[in-house]
Symmetry: C2
Subunit: 357 residues, 2 copies
């Protein structure tokens, strides 16, 4: 009896202790996830967004959710991110929605549209203007959750070897410019091509292409384009390119609620950070470029060229939405929101900046 | 031996179980914090920032850090936030840095400065241009940690009963306008006053004041100013007002590392959310105001008036920094960063918007 009594007490103590920490114990489970990105291992700031996200998740979860970030040199499938997340080979991805337009045209508008919204405007559309709901609707059929993954801000229109004075100066030029903007340029008589990032500088230098667009000063400076193409045109085609985090829906649903909240918050913060980081990088790089290469000429396309781009954009938008009600719904939602929000952008930042340049 | 053996096994089991969950058990501790805000309980979106922050913290920490948000009607000390956080009556606060300029002039620039940076520019300065380090330095002597707590974006210059055509039209006007901008206006001959928010509309309607600035369409619409003062001037004085979260340093240091990370991330996300929320609110409110009150006239101050404001701003900045090396260091850091970053803002969003209004 005495010995049994002791055992009972020990058992009771064990039960009490483990009872108290039962929920805590469940939390000792460590989730190990893998994330695939489209970006190379040094492509700052794009690669920093998923890396910062994973770091924050690790800290906030005290090591309960560990996300390994694989750059494109690891998985060798830069443009297979959606498929790999959908298929479960990767739990998550980080890429740009418009890369999937060939698989599902409805993914196109969540990146950016020519003559579309700036970054603050597009954020307002995503979070308060119905954008998140539409993105959810589009990605649902892929069994993937999509979240904004960082904006580049307004992208520059590209580096040109010669000045563009009219639409006829565009005709026959060979240019690297992807996406919907590339289709507009093709209609205007350019030969539009895509070239691997590592070969861009050599192609431009040797004259295999006459022009290209990349991102903006912050990312362009390392590429060296300013050394061989002095005309730097301001943007029209990607006024606020959003990247995306993609998450396998089934895997997400298996996470405890607190880890889901941690993941969502970390994605949101790292997205915002990327925009701010690129803003600073561009400001700093531009100051340096200007100083080192005073012959760079910043230009906006002449009115005639802009008008032609706008008219072609309008025509192409009407063409691609034909018979595609969901795509039309998304583009119409963006256009209506843009019309409203641009009035405020004009009254606030635009008129302020106009007087303070 | 046999009984002892059983007891040992039970003990071993208990040790193993509790050993496994030792760190988890420490995490069952619940931290209950209190946050004091300057804002009333319905002052959207300002009050939403700390509330959203507390909600995210609760979810991410699975209830281990609970933050109660007290609006100003609860603690009755709207402008005592810094003191209450410093003294430990509250663990955290949410307010605007320039309210403490009477106690510590160095806190002034972390809100906004007339003719200063826009929100994306100021974020870049905070996170990549040395702003966070300077803010840390200033608040350290108060034993308080300060974090960006949400930007209003560009604020409107205010509602005026009469059109301002020249500097002489300003003289003798009675206007509600706080902070450094108020000092500029006083130099230009206005009688500058501060009035409790609840009395603003009546004061303007009855002619006790001739003009006032509040925030922007999103927050102004509920106040009804547009019904009694038709001239709505664009902004110059608060191009990107940042609110702040304040955290008692000692209390912060007592939190486990993972809760610290959760708190920091939640503050950052809720700050970004507030900017986006207000952007949407302003766009929506302005569309409504314009429709319901087509007689509202949006104006920018004439060049003569702007020039006088700029000259006075320059003079006053030189005056307030005299003998204040830390304040000078902060204002110089902002000015240098603004000069650099504004070039990029011009090339990117400004030139894009100029062609797409």
């Amino acid at each position: 009896m005495k010995m049994l009594g002791k055992t009972s007490k020990v058992l009771l103590a064990a039960v009490l202790i483990t009872g108290l920490s039962a929920s805590a114990m469940a939390k000792d489970k460590v989730y190990k996830w893998k994330l695939a990105t489209t970006w190379g291992p040094t492509l700052t700031p794009f690669i920093d967004a998923p890396k910062n996200m994973a770091k924050m998740v690790k800290e906030m979860s005290d090591g309960r959710l560990i996300i390994r970030v694989d750059a494109s040199n690891k998985h060798k499938s830069a443009f297979g991110i959606l498929d790999m997340v959908k298929g479960g080979q990767y739990d998550m991805g980080h890429s740009a929605s418009y890369y999937w337009k060939g698989k599902d045209i409805n993914t196109l508008p969540f990146s950016t549209m020519p003559f579309g919204m700036t970054t603050p405007e597009q954020n307002a559309w995503f979070y308060y203007g119905g954008g998140m709901e539409l993105m959810k609707k589009v990605y649902k059929k892929h069994k993937v959750l999509a979240f904004p993954g960082g904006s580049t801000g307004n992208q520059m229109g590209g580096w040109f070897k010669k000045e563009i004075k009219s639409v006829s100066d565009l005709k026959g030029l060979k240019m690297r410019i992807p996406g919907f903007a590339g289709e507009i340029m093709a209609k205007l008589g350019l030969t539009v091509t895509n070239i691997a990032p590592g070969e861009l500088y050599t192609s431009l230098e040797r004259g295999n292409i006459d022009a290209l667009e990349w991102v903006g000063p912050g990312m362009d400076i390392k590429m060296g384009f300013h050394k061989v193409a002095p005309y730097y045109y301001t943007g029209w085609h990607e006024p606020g390119l959003d990247l995306q985090f993609l998450v396998n829906e089934k895997k997400f649903n298996k996470l405890p609620k607190d880890l889901q909240a941690i993941l969502i918050t970390a994605m949101k913060v790292s997205a915002t950070d990327m925009y701010t980081q690129n803003y600073d990088m561009s400001a700093t790089a531009w100051a340096k470029m200007k100083k080192d290469f005073p012959k760079i000429k910043v230009q906006t396309f002449p009115k005639e060229v802009m008008d032609a781009m706008k008219a072609t954009n309008k025509k192409l938008r009407a063409e691609i939405t034909k018979g595609k009600p969901l795509l039309k719904e998304i583009l119409d939602s963006q256009a209506a929101y843009q019309k409203k929000v641009r009035e405020w952008t004009k009254m606030s930042d635009f008129l302020y900046l106009k007087d303070n340049l």
